[in-house]
Symmetry: D2
Subunit: 399 residues, 4 copies
């Protein structure tokens, strides 16, 4: 589906409906959370759910309403600083590690802020020529969806620190079927094209589309399961420095890692903390919450390797693989850098992706927490190699 | 007033009323705070108001209800760990710096916990012989009152980090009158007695009463005012290492101190953040929120010194001084150590004071945030020398 | 020159002479250093010169003498641990950040250790079939040369912290000629091969040789000079967050960077600390001692970019560029990762390069401190993006 | 012996001889140390032996030669900053934690600096009226002696980090005799005087002499032995939080303490690193290298307590106790504060003691490493409560 084209042609009403749908989906995520749950920030990398709720509105207010809607009145002048994440081009920012201390505005005020912005956005869609806001609106909605997944990541992390093991939601899914044995698909070497072709929405970091030369490789049809990974643990993976990158091993030792994030072992039984509370490890489920270091060490132990992002994209485009975008983001062997010819967007939104192109690795696919329709085969997610609180797993490749 | 004696003789009803009064006074402090305000922990030394609310109940539950009230059912078994502050004698404790992440139990559940404990305590007062609980009940009520002052300290600190400068309460007091010039009272040297005489309630660290030899000294009739202290700032006090203890100067440099906590200067105008929000500096008010290091440096700059705690207690007992217990706790020159012959109470409550007798200094008096009737002339408050978020000020002495 | 082939065919005497030459070159670097100069470790990333002197011998002892020379007696059993750098495959290691505290063995004993190892190595070359040691000897000599450059880096860093600004050596070179204006060479896009072709010695990370697709680009004929970079400083480069990667700007702020490492400005005159002591900035000299973050920000400010390592290698192979390997290592835009099909060497020497393939960037070329004949056009040097104590500079590329 | 009086009356020759004796004693301590041994600084609290050698000379140069000896030429102007320890009153100081990186001046140059200063000092004694320098000379010699003990402390600490366990010196003493059972001497309560009486040399912090009231107490006739302390270890002392001050227990956990500094246990055999290298624990020897926290916890476990410094001085003055000043400094229960009426010396030497009167505890007596004649019964040594590298032990008291 070509979202931008659709926006281009649709009547204002259709656009407004899509706007409302995306924004309402965010509210749906916090409906069962108390004001206290939405307040806390469990680590500097995370943000309070309340902050996410406000920041999405800040984005529309800053990049669309203030510049484009005549007579727009900001909900509160102070929010311009409080809810700016990292855009130095639009002014000051409140200290990131202290977001969890902002008890004012209250959650109710943030909800009112959202309503204020939503109403104004609908006026803008109605009254201002689409050419002025089409691209920014699409960016804003995709940005909103990214924060939907971040809310789930951050809420899970905060709840996980509570000894009461509170569940964010009821168990949703049916039991997972037994995982099939891993099979491999051979992909021939050659000159391929990857990256977004500029038709329909994509983030700036997905382009330009460009050629890459690939050697022949094989791509695993399914993700690494929790059962697969348990074998690595039981084989002493976390006690074997020779399996790890040097910085990875230093992290294992400094952090005392013995299993993926959220896993615990009591009386020989492994469990993991999830959005549904603490649950037993199901060996058939796709592995979640490993770092790049763990993914890399596991692949080495298994005698294989991680795919590069180009290998991932080419294989996924060829098709026929399971769990591409619905279980776990998949760490690739590729550090996150600019594609040849990459130019960040003009203005402050150019800070969206470009300035983070160092010290991170690309993940591809999508996860159980990714909003429907948000991700693409060219989508480049990224996290530092030690990060584990994303819904991140492993797909293997081999020569 | 001899509180313990009173408890000894009073009918259960009178005792129950005093219990209710103290406990209700705690609730009065959080009545204007949202669940979010009660959730946050702004630094490791502080605790969330919700935690204070729960911990006071934990104290009664742990030291009175569980051992003494037949058939008492704890409100929630998990709270035994969650709300233990530092008593190793009664088991595990939840990590102190992470108290602010406990979004569950909710504030409403903590209020229900308080009601549960209060009801049980009234049953205990009614049904169990007073000899079994009299001393512990008195300790529990004094403990509750200490946390009342801590709630105000911690809430003020948390709100101070919000750029919106939110006020905890309306301005209460009338304008302060012009401070009188400082006068001195000469106290003759000699052998004095200090410490609590064991009639009526006191914390264990206030005794035993014992003799001390004092050289003659003079004691200032009033506290150092904000105007007095502004002169120190303007004279370059925060840029003059020769005025400071070595560790104090290291703190000034590491923390970038240029004024007391909560002070700010914009366009030449000094303001301070208070429970009433940001207010102008009134030069006649008693100084608040200085560390021992600042108190010591100020006294040196002024050509005087801080009193020892023995000097403070002897002078205060002789009487005739202003602002003894209603404005600001007064740093003394005395490190917090055991009195001769000191024995901590038996059992886990013996951890109440004794294990903190190192790396802290004694403050005497009481502050605007101290509950009525809580403090005594023998009362020994204590904080590390760099702490500033208490309601702490300066009284001078000289030879 | 094809070194391995040469070794293969040469008589033992020729090989022995090359061994002696490389080892003696190391001694030449410390001839003017006192035992004290060789003792100190100025930061965890650096090592004492004495440690470098010993570690080179440890390499030959561990990987050649002990396994291959019958009846070899280690100089001191304890050295196996003391002078192991990071090879987990051969046992324990002494704590890296504490290398500077090992006052025993003395420098004289370390020199004796070198003589002991050198004598044994010459026996080995004479008595053991070359097929058993040829590759390891070549690796050992290249390893020794890498530590020669590290000695210069680490000694310069240690001396730089001394307020006396002591010079390591007399000024060697003639004045630098005026730098020519920068010119660009256009390189056509297409499918190229890069990497080492396995004829002659190379480190494992230089191969396998493989194809890469490049878009057309232009390559600067000379390095960025100190004069070029002064313009960036004077234009406020270190005060402009929009020029920097996010992690780079965080480093600028945390470290207080205002210029390259070793630069200082007094009364408007810029100087830099060098191996020749403190010298004025010569605007015509090639820039040294910048981090990847600074190189990246400079390139952005200049409207250009850094070359990828493939672009660098292709251009350098095509030839015609100045300052390829004799002035400064050149930061590339390429994170340090494995080439397609890369396999680390078997055994503990497989730890030489592979486990560092994360959180570093590739530098290409060579520097004024690189031993003659050590570097190659396929050579991959690497450092973390914030490192500045290498002899690292900038060459620009553009689309 | 009244040292100052002696200086007052002695001929210049006698004074010169005493000066030479003290200065030469310092040299005697480093005679078996290499330039490398004298270079290193094993932790921020320690200093290199070379620095101590230079700093003693700096003291005489700064406080005597420069102000008092006409035409005195400093050995090197830069040393005024390099070798200033902490006197802000005389200008800048080189960063304390980086003292170990000053490879220049060399040890030989520092010895030359000493000779230069010594020669000038002898000219001063000869040519300048004693009234101008008598007190400062005495202070300088006592200062030199303090650094003699610090050299031994710091050298032992640096050598202890070397896995080779190098000995500083040969074993000197005969085997220790079996420790006698501990006996107690009862000291009656009453009004006592403590502190220096101003006749003869003393540091400013030892006065003024003043009255203190003591309750009756008993004083142990001998120090706690290593055998005594082993019982504490074996009884689980390092695993019992209830025995420790809160900050002490936090230190035990953070530092992983399981025994005194320098102790190790292999195959059930305890050894300790000493100036004579690693030696078996002799249960009859006086315990060394414990912190205040350990001394306090041991005393609590033993059912006794540490004496206050007043109790120590009164008992020691009454006499009859063993191991007063020749085995180990004895931690007291007294935080290091000013005596009543204390005034620091005028000028920069007033920084000698006064500014450290916080966050430290007083030790009394003297140790095996204290120079002959240096200590007194009024002498107040002091260290932070977690410090263990001094020659510090335990004497018990009880009510």
């Amino acid at each position: 589906m070509n979202v931008t084209a659709q926006l281009r042609d649709d009547a204002a009403e259709v656009i407004a409906q899509r706007f409302r749908d995306v924004r309402d989906a965010t509210l749906g995520l916090t409906v069962n959370l108390s004001a206290e749950d939405c307040q806390v920030q469990s680590m500097p990398d995370a943000s309070p759910a309340k902050w996410h709720l406000a920041h999405g509105s800040w984005f529309f207010e800053t990049f669309l309403l203030t510049p484009l809607l005549p007579d727009y009145e900001p909900f509160d002048q102070a929010f311009a600083i409080l809810f700016n994440s990292y855009y130095v081009g639009v002014g000051e920012r409140f200290s990131r590690p202290h977001r969890g201390l902002l008890t004012r505005p209250s959650l109710d005020e943030v909800y009112a802020y959202r309503r204020h912005v939503d109403a104004a956005m609908l006026r803008l869609v109605d009254a201002v020529p689409p050419s002025k806001w089409r691209d920014l609106l699409e960016l804003g909605l995709n940005h909103e969806q990214q924060h939907q997944e971040l809310i789930l990541m951050d809420v899970q992390h905060a709840l996980s620190l509570n000894p009461l093991d509170p569940a964010y939601r009821q168990k949703l899914a049916d039991p997972v079927l037994a995982a099939a044995p891993r099979t491999w698909t051979e992909i021939p070497g050659g000159l391929y094209e990857i990256g977004h072709n500029a038709s329909g929405f994509a983030f700036d970091n997905e382009g330009p589309r460009h050629r890459v030369w690939l050697e022949p490789y094989a791509f695993a049809d399914r993700l690494v399961t929790m059962g697969d990974y348990l074998q690595f643990i039981e084989a002493g993976g976390y006690r074997s420095p020779e399996l790890w990158l040097s910085d990875g091993w230093a992290t294992v030792e400094a952090e005392g890692w013995i299993a993926p994030l959220y896993w615990a072992c009591e009386d020989g039984q492994w469990t993991r903390f999830s959005l549904e509370g603490r649950v037993p490890i199901d060996p058939n489920e796709a592995l979640l919450h490993v770092s790049f270091y763990e993914a890399d060490a596991y692949a080495r132990w298994a005698g294989h390797r991680l795919p590069t992002e180009a290998e991932w994209e080419v294989a996924a485009t060829l098709g026929g693989f399971q769990q591409i975008a619905d279980c776990a983001w998949q760490w690739t062997a590729s550090p996150y850098t600019a594609y040849p010819g990459f130019q960040p967007a003009t203005g402050a939104v150019g800070e969206y992706n470009a300035k983070f192109m160092v010290n991170q690795f690309v993940l591809r696919g999508g996860s159980l927490a990714t909003p429907q329709g948000h991700t693409r085969l060219t989508y480049r997610n990224f996290f530092p190699p030690a990060a584990r609180w994303a819904f991140s797993g492993i797909r293997l490749a081999r020569a």
